[in-house]
Amino acid sequence: MPTDLLSPLTLIVGDEELLVARAVSDVIRAARADDPDVDVRELEGSDVAPGDLGEVLSPSLFAERRVLVIHAAEDLGKDTAAEVLAYIAEPLDEVTLLVVHAGGAKGKALLSSLQSAAGRTLSAARITRPGERRDFLRAELRADGRVVEEEAVGALLEAVGNDLRELASSASQLLSDTHGPITVAAVNRYHRGRAEANGFAVAERAVEGDLAGALELVRWWSMVKLEHVLVTSALANTLRSMAMVASAGRNPAGVLAGQLGMPAWKVEKTQRQVRGWRPEGLERAFQAVAAADADVKGGAVDQDYAVERMLLAVVQARGAGR
């Protein structure tokens, strides 16, 4: 269906990067397949000066094929937007125009004129709700006409997290790695134990004495981009809550929640965590975290090492004083 893709005006509404990039590259690929010498230009709405478009969008002597992509069309100035509309009224055969518009209130007049003129309108709305993310992933997995178990979609979502690009790439990886229906077992074979790491998850494992678990999370995280400061600050927060709960006495969680200004579930969880800790241990843990905070803010050469050493010190502090 390359002819369909190469409609004279394609409008992409939305700002979900992945979807926009896919739509744009689909069109460019189709145009290249049609004519390998096609001239592709991509412009940012905010960079387009009046007159720039005339250069690209006027008839040329040799009528070579051209593709023009205008990103962030909502940032076009008044004059340049008028130039786009004037071109649309009299489009050229050899030009394929793609306009990407965020779809917000900005540049709304341009958007509605484009919508009535566009041969093809695609939606690239940002995916925010879990249900939408699930639909997206399911569609990705079914792309080749494969059979997908609904539970497998859920398992993959849980394992990979919320980033759309990562979801799309893990889906295509899974499709090429497996044959036949996609099942929970298939997902687990490739994605077991991979959870989204964050500072609090690491801190939780550390204060519960699970050194291996905490280190594993940190290592996973450092595969992507470990934010050392988030680990130290989350650990400081967790230890602070523990110290407050520990010194607040043996009241029911509901009462303590009011006193400490914490939600009741957090009080209960913290009460569980603080078991097995002594004041001396808390003190040592605090000092380890403070030292590591200085280290990750430029005090140490190797920040990864500073974080791991801190986790080790915290887990050891847990047993101290008993």
Binding site: T232, S233, A236, R240, A243, M244, A246, S247, A248, P279, E280, L282, E283, F286, Q287, V289, A290, D293, A294, K297, G298, G299
Partner: protein, 393 residues
């Protein structure tokens, strides 16, 4: 009366500067026989509050005055106030003194003095010059214009590049003794002698801080609150609470100090950008780029606020370290006078209940906390860690 009257407890320095001013006056009169007592680059060093900039301004006045710093002629007044045509005073406001600013200063030193005496350039906080800015200054120090004088102020010699400090004549100020500070408070600010003695002692030689303690009730309350921390370290929970109170107090103090200035700066900028204007040609909206300028200002103000609250916290930690020093003095029975004399009873109680070794460890903990704050550790975390260390000793 002399321009050096406000320079407390620095007799040696005053003599040196007066001799230099006298030699400078002879140079102006055409007599070069004693010219070696005067030179073109001076570096004033000393702990905060010792009067580096007071000494430098006084010297600038002594150079401009017909009578070597009489303290009552217009040249003296203008030089001390920083409005003299031949005295440029540079006070770095931001975190550093940039190379562009330094180049401008260098160009200024090369001018001929309008009053025919000396072209003085005074840089307060010269330690805030990054290396490349110092290098821009180096040329002016290496090949000085005939009547140019450069006065630099910094906490210590090590704060400047070796190339700069080796070309300056050093003026080392000492921490002024408490009785000299007290005497100034009584003479200049009319403070009651007992209060002056207390404030001078508690401020540990920092004249500005001593004056604030003597004149402002909230400064005294804040100090008392800080020094109550050692008594509220019963359990882990109360230690953490005390740490939080300390950090909150520092932030509140900073907010109080910066709030009015922030608001008036914002007001001025928005007026300059045409906010609130009426009449012909007024479009009703801020001109293009106005929002960006406001945001830039807010960013600067925020960094200044952070700096102020960090300074307040650092002051509190200095007081706290001095308290444990008093405890150690009691424990070792040296008889050295206490810094926080009004808290002698509390120091004695703590001294009786702990050992000198643990007191030393506590002082170490306070100093480690200052280092940590300097290294950008989250203030609450650093102070919490210190409070817990103070608890166990």
């Amino acid at each position: 009366m002399s321009v050096f009257d406000d320079l407390v407890g620095q007799q040696a320095v005053v003599l040196q500067l007066q001799a230099a001013a006298a030699a400078a006056a002879r140079v102006v009169a055409g007599d070069d026989s004693t010219a070696s007592a005067m030179t073109h680059a001076w570096l004033f060093t000393g702990p905060p509050g010792s009067g580096r900039s007071v000494a430098a301004r006084g010297f600038a006045a002594a150079l401009q005055c017909e009578d070597r710093g009489c303290g009552h002629c217009s040249a003296c007044h203008q030089a001390v106030a920083g409005t003299h045509a031949d005295v440029a005073v540079v006070v770095p406001e931001g975190l550093s003194l940039g190379v562009a600013e330094v180049r401008r200063i260098v160009a200024h030193t090369a001018r001929r003095p309008t009053a025919g005496r000396w072209q003085v350039t005074l840089i307060e906080d010269a330690d805030r010059m990054p290396d490349y800015a110092s290098n821009a200054l180096l040329k002016a120090i290496e090949e000085p214009p005939p009547r140019g004088v450069l006065l630099l102020c910094a906490p210590s010699v090590e704060d400047l590049l070796p190339t700069i400090r080796s070309r300056c004549r050093l003026v080392p100020l000492r921490t002024p003794p408490a009785d000299a500070v007290a005497e100034v408070l009584v003479r200049r600010d009319g403070v009651d002698p007992a209060m002056a003695a207390f404030a001078a002692q508690a401020a540990q030689g920092h004249i500005g801080r001593a004056r604030r303690l003597a004149l402002q009730e909230d400064a005294r309350t804040e100090r008392r609150d800080v020094l109550s921390l050692p008594r509220s370290l019963h359990g882990v929970g109360s230690a953490l609470q005390a740490a939080k109170d300390l950090v909150d107090a520092a932030q509140a103090e900073a907010a109080r100090l910066t709030k009015d200035r922030d608001a008036s700066e914002r007001e001025e900028l928005s007026t300059a950008l045409g906010g609130g204007a009426t009449g012909k040609g007024y479009t009703g909206s801020a001109p293009k780029g106005g929002a960006g300028a406001l945001k830039e200002l807010e960013k600067r103000q925020k960094s200044r606020g952070t700096r102020t609250s960090r300074d307040a916290l650092d002051r509190a930690l200095v007081d706290l370290a001095a308290f444990y020093r008093d405890v150690l003095v009691v424990q070792l029975g040296t008889g050295t006078p206490a810094i926080h004399g009004d808290l002698g009873a509390q120091a004695a109680t703590i001294a009786g209940a702990t050992t000198p070794e643990s007191t030393l460890r506590r002082i170490e903990a306070v100093l480690a906390c200052r280092t940590a704050l300097d290294g950008n550790v989250a203030p609450l975390l650093a102070v919490e860690s210190m409070a817990l260390a103070l608890r166990t000793g």
